[in-house]
Symmetry: none
Subunit: 130 residues, 4 copies
């Protein structure tokens, strides 16, 4: 369950560098494999409303050990999973929540929000392997 503080800081730093590079201020959430907050930073000028979105993306990824985008497949109307999105205190099924891998093992989850969806995903991806 324990991603280390050092690992979490590294993953977040990688994401932050990418965000700076593409000039998109975001919220960066790192959860351990049990879903507890390990690291968080809100870049200057990132939206307040994106704090919770970043948290929910990472949480959604954690709950099903995959990306938030993949969970979104089951939240589409055509999946007919009525009410699924309201379980677990609310699921968020679009890109920006990813497992963090080290030597192919999942050691935690990253959630990014603040930019356009492809930007969030790009930034999350930068922090998803350490």
């Amino acid at each position: 369950m324990e991603i280390t503080m050092e690992q979490a800081t590294t993953a977040a730093r990688q994401a932050e560098l990418k965000a700076t590079e593409i000039q998109v201020p975001v919220n960066i959430v790192i959860l351990d494999t049990a879903g507890y907050l390990k690291f968080f930073v809100r870049m200057d000028n990132a939206f307040i409303g994106s704090i919770d979105i970043a948290l929910q993306k990472a949480k959604t990824a954690m709950l099903f050990r995959t990306s938030s985008e993949m969970v979104g497949e089951f939240l589409k109307p055509e999946a007919h999973a009525y009410g699924l999105s309201q379980t677990n205190g609310g699921l968020v099924g679009f890109p920006g929540g990813l497992p963090i891998l080290k030597n192919k093992d999942i050691i935690g989850y990253i959630g990014i929000s603040g930019g356009a969806v492809p930007q969030d995903l790009l930034i999350a991806t930068a922090g998803s392997t350490i």
Copy 2:
């Protein structure tokens, strides 16, 4: 209201055997007819996110004394039951929640989550008659 501990354990055990047979780790919830938790087990490697889904499926079935799938008929967009899915703290309207029958009487409810929907339904069905 009282499914016995022995009956609940039997129903859950039948579901667990089916889950093991088809190699799908799931969360198994048994509620009494009033909706209170009677028995729960999370099989090894079952998704954390499926704990709540299994609970909500069984609760949804209990609330209307039918299957969660049948309740889903009223949650479809074309049913025009606006806001229904948010009642009762959230309804979950897809397969995997069923009444438990003994001698054709409902003695409780079972909720299963962790696999694909048809797998969840197969496992729930295995625990729905004792």
Copy 3:
């Protein structure tokens, strides 16, 4: 984080046998080390109101990796920790929540509620080492 289903079932069974021996119907909760529900059983005639108490005792023990009773030391008026009891969605600081040990390692947490406090503790203790 993963107490196995077999370990959880064993711990709960040990507790249930003690409860049966002293004729006190209780709710038995087993959480993994991250606080997620792994196993639950409500013995016949156990109080409905004790479901949540058993859950909260086990959760409180998990949050601080100790017994719920020990956490209660910080909840006493003379500890002057104003508002502490309302953190984490509510803490429960009286006996009946314990770590489950295997070879001196904490593998999960047990919470018992339904009897008098010394009875709950006796039953929890019976399930606290496997």
Copy 4:
């Protein structure tokens, strides 16, 4: 309202160094002056239950622009402020939440939890001036 990411990181780093020095793993929360999360880190082995306590201490300090300890004066039974502790989603009135000062101006709030109360206060103090 805007403590910068750099300022928040500096304050948290000062606290972390003190925590490492006295060998107490804690949760470190930095809020902006509006109470929104700016930075968070959970040191390795810090209690899960202390995540929320650290958040609530910082929030309580922010709500009244003072220390969480000072708010605690109004939460004591002899203050007769019945129900006060339940306002604002719960107030936490013991040491470990402090304003962060820069040139005597409040730029944010720090909340620390994980050690004994005097330890938490010592660590919070280390991060309360930048």
